[in-house]
């Protein structure tokens, strides 16, 4: 090749299949509990009943056609869009807050891409077997066994994907009716389109693309990376300990002895406990032997790589593909335990701590300006959201002055202004509202025949008000108040300040 001409690198890389080995440990348990909780919530919520006088009895229903969200006892109207804005703001700040503290915890434990991929991998391993069996199946030519196993895996994925799409759609229509209509061909076209798109998207994302979504598509993973600080806890390999001066090495005679490895299954019995105590000593001896030869604690078993759902080697250091799921920690600790080496060769730790000659015990360092700032914003916004929802009124109102013309001079010289009062009844039952004015003579407010108006729940009503004042009074009154009172609820009276316009006082 000539100097100056670069090698042509393809921008496309074929996916390298990943077959993860299952592992046991606290992080796996945590991930499983989050998965169960999230699935229970997502799949069961549309089926929770909730009696309402004027709407379907579904606890959570996003009634798009009716322009309202029904959330248990709360009805959210489009006017309450500020709540959605607050919620999104809180979610964003929470993400920043958590990422600053413990890295990409959202990616590793809570993201739906991770949850669904995790579940799909579980299905895969139940049908096709553990990692070696899956690798063998992948390499063997197509035969009846392979066809059956791969086919049934994909069928199961499609089934889960379909129910995922169906459940999503069920949030937007009364679930029992929707499911019935869906299977009898009676549902709206939107339902079929939504379910099909979501089925295919779930199947593709969790079954076929998996870690590629996180690596190539998802923007959240990318921008979370820039929120890491030296103090942020993340899944790290303790390279100083693992590599020693001569690198990692597998356990062989003469380079650290092999100790009893079958003890773990019987770990509960006291006999075994006793043996473990002895073994611990042998573990210490083995380590001392390794350290003498300049070897690190890593025995290069590769289990941390085999369990990784994104197919990286954590021992290469923190990298952008890592979703911080902690499975390699579980894997490594399992191995360390079996050799009775100390745990935590791979652990949650901070860059700053690991850079020390002898790392201190891991601790969460939250006393940082950024973390405290996010924390304060989180608390304030959440408090405001709770306050705003708990003090919501039973109706919405908007009083707008008619601006064309701004004022009318009547034949006797009086000045008239007109106003439109729009009321939206957000309560669950019909409500009558009465209007009055403060700051002008009571007789100056003319509402035609509508001194009170009754509005059905979820509906709006419009009332025209006109106010006319004699010129001497008009010149003194710049604004006054219109009071809107729901009948029988005087404490919910709302006051709207409106302007009164008059001919300019310019000479």
């Amino acid at each position: 090749m000539q100097p100056g001409i670069e090698d042509q690198l393809g921008l496309y890389q074929k996916r390298i299949p990943i077959f993860t080995r299952s592992v046991k440990g606290p992080f796996r348990r945590f991930k499983t509990s989050v998965l169960v909780l999230a699935y229970a919530t997502f799949f069961l919520l549309p089926w929770v009943p909730w009696a309402r006088p004027d709407a379907p009895a579904q606890a959570v229903l996003f009634d798009v056609m009716g322009r309202r969200f029904l959330l248990f006892g709360l009805t959210v109207y489009p006017q309450d869009v500020i709540w959605l804005a607050l919620l999104l703001f809180i979610a964003a700040i929470l993400l920043f807050f958590v990422t600053g503290l413990v890295g990409r915890a959202f990616c590793g434990y809570f993201c739906f891409q991770t949850l669904w991929t995790d579940f799909f991998i579980w299905i895969e391993s139940k049908i096709q077997g553990e990692r070696p069996a899956r690798v063998r199946l992948f390499r063997q030519p197509w035969n009846q066994e392979k066809l059956l196993k791969i086919g049934s895996t994909h069928a199961a994925w499609l089934l889960v994907s379909f129910w995922t799409g169906m459940t999503f759609a069920a949030y937007f229509a009364y679930a029992p009716d929707l499911v019935l209509a869906f299977f009898t061909g009676q549902a709206a076209a939107a339902a079929y389109i939504t379910v099909s798109i979501l089925t295919l998207a779930t199947y593709a994302a969790a079954g076929l693309m998996r870690e590629q979504i996180c690596t190539y598509i998802c923007p959240y993973g990318r921008f979370q990376s820039v929120m890491y600080e030296p103090e942020t806890l993340a899944v790290h390999y303790d390279a100083a300990r693992g590599e020693g001066t001569h690198g990692r090495a597998s356990v062989r005679a003469g380079r650290g002895i092999v100790v009893e490895r079958r003890g773990r299954e019987l770990a509960e019995s006291t006999v075994v406990q006793e043996r473990r105590r002895v073994n611990r000593n042998s573990g210490e001896r083995a380590l001392a032997e390794r350290h003498e030869q300049g070897l690190g604690d890593c025995i290069d078993c590769g289990l941390c790589v085999q369990v990784c759902p994104v197919g990286i080697d954590i021992r290469d250091g923190l990298q952008y593909k890592c979703i911080s799921c902690g499975l390699c920690i579980d894997a490594c600790n399992t191995i360390m335990d079996s050799f009775d080496f100390p745990r935590g060769l791979i652990r949650y730790d901070s860059e700053k701590n690991l850079a020390l000659p002898s790392p201190a015990p891991v601790k969460l360092e939250w006393k940082r300006l950024k973390i405290i700032g996010y924390g304060v914003a989180l608390v304030l916004m959440s408090a405001y959201l709770v306050y705003s929802i708990s003090t919501r009124g039973s109706f919405d109102r908007a009083v707008s002055q008619v601006r064309q013309p701004l004022y009318v001079v009547l034949s006797n010289g009086d000045i008239r202004n007109r106003y439109q009062i729009r009321i939206t009844n957000k309560a669950a039952e019909p409500q009558t509202y009465t209007f009055s004015a403060r700051g002008i003579p009571e007789s100056a407010l003319d509402l035609g025949h509508f001194r009170e108006i009754t509005i059905k729940p979820g509906h709006s009503g419009l009332v025209q008000a006109s106010v006319h004042l004699p010129p001497d009074l008009a010149s003194k009154i710049h604004q006054f108040e219109i009071l809107i009172t729901p009948n029988g609820k005087p404490d919910e009276t709302r006051v709207e300040v409106v302007h009164f316009d008059k001919p300019s006082l310019r000479p």
């Binding site: 064309q404 001079v409 034949s411 006797n412 509508f450 009332v463 000479p507």
Partner: protein, 306 residues
């Protein structure tokens, strides 16, 4: 690309040679391009089949796609797909949806409408659109009118009466306001006298001596103003003669003139030249009776009627 690569490439030719050594390179179009080109053929044929395409005799080939709608007469119409038919479909659909409301309003008396919140809300929204389409060109979007041209509909002064019935009459049959010019009939002094008298009626600054003489002219046969404006100068609604005693001036720019001389001069101009521009067109036949009824209530509510 490196030099070696260029050299190693064998150039394909079409195989012909002219004039001994003239050869033609064979550079076929990219395969994807060729197939895309063929695909456009398929697309064109599918498109011609579905949508109107070729002229045929006096008409055209309509295609498979149809537009069906029910028109206001209740007839079902089917056209081959075209944007005009889509427009008609939309318009008729909207008209059918509005019909129950128009029917409801049409069946109610004005008094009933004024007490019914739903009917009033309908009048406010549909009336606003009808007013903007048909009336706002002269009376302005808020009904405030233009001094010297078009009356203000938001005040309490009605040339022809502000009851529902008179507004409805005005809308149906139109109005033609007229006042003769007195420039040829009276002398300049007499017109001055009349102008000062009219100014005095609504309490504007005036020359009392001239106004006194104007009072006489107003009420005798020389000018005979009382004939239309009434003996008390409060106007006569049956012929649209305005009330001269209130503070509202449509034709004379009194309120726009700060000086009292200017106000009198503005009145004088109207007396001298007369008026023939107070023309309101008739809307019967142009708008449906239901639409005129909606506009009647809408206009009535603009100024609160009388």
């Amino acid at each position: 690309m490196s030099e070696q690569k260029l050299q190693s490439q064998t150039v394909q030719t079409t195989g012909h040679a002219w004039d001994g050594d003239l050869q033609e390179y064979n550079n076929p179009l990219p395969v994807w391009w060729v197939y895309t080109f063929y695909a456009t053929f398929v697309f064109a044929i599918v498109y011609w089949t579905i949508y109107p395409s070729w002229p045929f005799g006096k008409g055209w080939i309509g295609g498979l796609s149809d537009v069906t709608y029910v028109n206001s007469a209740g007839e079902t119409k089917t056209h081959s797909w075209n944007t005009r038919a889509l427009y008609l479909e939309d318009m008729n659909k909207a008209a059918i949806e509005q019909k129950p409301y128009f029917d409801k309003v049409n069946a109610m008396s004005y008094e009933q409408i004024s007490r019914d919140p739903e009917a009033t809300a309908f009048i406010l929204s549909s009336g606003k659109a009808l007013f903007a389409d048909n009336c706002a060109a002269c009376h302005q979007s808020g009904g405030q009118g233009v001094v010297g041209f078009f009356p203000n509909l938001t005040d309490d002064d009605w040339l022809y009466g502000g009851s529902y019935e008179t507004i409805n009459q005005t809308l149906l049959h139109g109005r033609r306001g007229y006042m003769p010019g007195f420039g040829d009939v009276l002398t300049g002094v007499q017109i001055d006298q009349l102008a000062n008298y009219v100014a005095s009626l609504s309490g504007l600054q005036h020359n009392a001596a001239l106004a006194k003489a104007g009072d006489v002219l107003f009420h005798n046969e020389t000018a005979a103003c009382y004939y239309c404006h009434g003996v008390d100068a409060k106007g006569r609604k049956e012929i649209g003669a305005p009330n001269l005693t209130d503070g509202i001036w449509l034709w004379a720019g009194v309120n726009a003139t700060p000086s009292s001389e200017g106000k009198v001069a503005a009145i004088r101009t109207v007396i001298n030249n007369g008026l023939a521009k107070g023309v309101m067109p008739a809307w019967a036949g142009r708008l449906s009776p239901e639409q005129i009824k909606v506009l009647t209530v809408y206009v009535h509510d603009l100024g609160g009627g009388v």
